[in-house]
């Protein structure tokens, strides 16, 4: 069994200071956790079209390895060659262009997918209505809700007016949405002929081997669904990395400032007691233990509070703002916990120096 938990007792003997310190650090960690959770959720949404696609292999123009902010043009002649390759169960083209859904009620940036109705490439979960006919579009129900649209309404897209034939789900994220029209309609809207953006292929057997075979036969870029999804996530992460780093840094700096101030004030108020402990024979390591345990209890309690609040916010946001999915994964929690420990260590530095230097002779000062 251990000794008297002096650090914990010191921390919680002044409850107001303890609560303020924990709350301050908790808010900072909440910021970091929420950011991670929102980014995680957004990442899942960003790749949802790919992840839910029945395609085993995505084929793009040579050198293109993702969809977001990419421009890919593949000759339709290659579709025939791919279909003829061994191991190909099916192959279908999709056109993929960025634009915006527009109504009198607002705008929403949208990636438009042109596919052949009845074939893979369209919306996987059609929650209302039906696949698009000529001049028709399927949009995400979340966008429909926010723009006040329903099946049968009209919407502007690609400088044309389309009638909404159905509503899909799960394809809207913070930044954009996905809309589906017929392949031929999209080609006509953009005067495209003889080309497609991507070719989706189903594999008989190992998708990786098929992807390799397609690349070898056509010179096109062919990746398995998992590879293609990972490339997409990496690109989005690269684009947002700096912003995320700045926001994380801000969160950690706020946390550091709060914990450093709290610990320093707590240590100063008990500096004489540190001298008493030294006089009684406590080694500097024991005193360091007292300070560090206060720091760890502060960040531990703050992390627990921040985690609880993040889960609560995830539930609330899930119900009120479905396009902001909040996904807290164990990796993010582990990273924030590690960050919190670093925070505790850094915050304890100045107090450690103070108690390290305290003179046991202070016990004799009146």
């Amino acid at each position: 069994m251990g000794g008297v938990p002096v650090g914990r007792r010191n921390l919680f003997s002044d409850r107001r200071r303890a609560v303020l310190g924990i709350a301050g650090v908790g808010v900072a960690l909440l910021m970091v956790l929420m950011l991670a959770a929102i980014v995680n959720g957004a990442m899942r949404q960003v790749t949802r079209y790919i992840d839910t696609s029945p395609a085993d292999v995505f084929v793009a123009q040579r050198g293109v390895t993702n969809m977001h902010m990419a421009s890919s043009a593949v000759p339709l002649a290659d579709l025939t060659r791919i279909r003829a390759l061994p191991g190909v169960a099916w192959a279908e083209p999709i056109l993929y262009l960025p634009d915006a859904l527009a109504t009198a009620g607002g705008r929403q940036v949208a990636y438009v997918v042109g596919y052949v109705p009845g074939q893979p490439g369209g919306p996987v979960s059609l929650v209302r209505g039906r696949a698009p006919g000529p001049g028709q579009v399927v949009i995400d129900q979340r966008v429909a809700g926010s723009l006040g649209l329903k099946v049968g309404d009209s919407v502007r897209l690609l400088a044309r007016t389309w009638r909404i034939s159905g509503l899909a789900s799960g394809l809207t994220n913070l930044a954009n949405t996905v809309a589906f029209v017929r392949f031929t309609d999209l080609a006509a809207a953009r005067n495209l002929s003889g080309i497609t953006s991507y070719i989706l292929a189903g594999a008989r057997g190992d998708p990786a081997r098929l992807a390799h075979r397609i690349t070898a036969a056509t010179g096109l870029s062919a990746l398995t669904r998992a590879q293609f999804s990972a490339q997409e996530r990496a690109l989005v992460q690269d684009m947002s990395a700096q912003l995320l780093q700045i926001m994380n840094l801000a969160g950690y700096l706020i946390g550091l400032a709060v914990i450093a101030l709290t610990l320093y004030a707590a240590t100063l108020s008990r500096l004489r007691e540190a001298g008493v402990m030294k006089a009684l024979g406590a080694r500097p390591v024991r005193l360091a233990n007292v300070v560090l345990s206060q720091a760890l209890w502060t960040v531990g309690a703050a992390l627990a509070a921040a985690l609880g609040l993040t889960f609560a916010l995830a539930v609330v946001l899930g119900r009120t703002a479905g396009n902001v999915p909040v996904v807290l994964d164990p990796g993010s929690v582990a990273r924030v916990a590690a960050g919190a420990i670093v925070l505790a260590a850094l915050g304890a530095l100045a107090p450690l120096v103070r108690v390290w230097r305290v003179d046991p002779m202070t016990v004799f000062r009146r």
């Binding site: 069994m1 251990g2 008297v4 007792r9 008990r270 008493v276 009684l280 046991p360 004799f364």
Partner: protein, 283 residues
Amino acid sequence: MDDIEVRARALTKTFGQGEVQVQAVRGIDLEVRRGEVVLIMGASGSGKTTLLSMLGAMLRPTSGRVEVDGVDLATLPESKLPEFRTRRFGFVFQDFNLLSALSAEENVEFALNLSGVTGRRARERAGRLLDGLGLAGRRRFRPDKLSGGEKQRVAIARALANEPAVILADEPTANLDSKIGHEIARLLRRIASEERRSVVIVSHDARLKEIADRVLWMEDGQFRSLSEMAADPVCGMAVEREGTPHYRHDGQTYYFCSPACRDEFAASPSRFLAPAAGLSAPG
């Protein structure tokens, strides 16, 4: 094997250098036997606390040596001093110096933790010590809920936790009323007599003389013989007989710390002669 627990030889402590140099302790020799209570008295700034700090291994002497239980403190490296303090000394302070966030029991446990006794063993021993000092009902109380006398008894329990050979007490009765101060004094006496521990007390409190085996007077960093000292009848301060203001009255000579005290006495001697006070009778 002799009975000497603490032995100081030619102990000197100098603070500062050059013009600001202060010699707080000057060549002190001191021996304290097991079971003995030594009271060191003296005016503020006389060097009592500096001496106590050196005896308690908190301050290295400038020269001279201190032996405790046969161990020369000068031979101990800095890293060994904390453990030595924990095991050989019990400290009792004027301001009690209890850890404010801990209960009475935890304060005693903490001292035990420092010597490696933890958990249930520490708690049980702390409890026994507190019970023995009449604090059974106060174990879970934090210092702010204890009276001055109770705090000092907790501090004494803490000092006894590791069964030290030597108890060093700095003004242990100064913040207590006379009744409680008397109780604490008797407690220290009992600890010395019954548990055969050496007790060194530095204090201004003349009442502690009752429980002391020896009283030493310290002035300007040195011990003075009590026979050379007299008490100022006005302020009660101990003063040397030589070179200090004095006044003859009714066939006796009285000694004063300052001309102001002498003049006040001379104006009305009867005001100051009624109660008997001081370290020794006027000569």
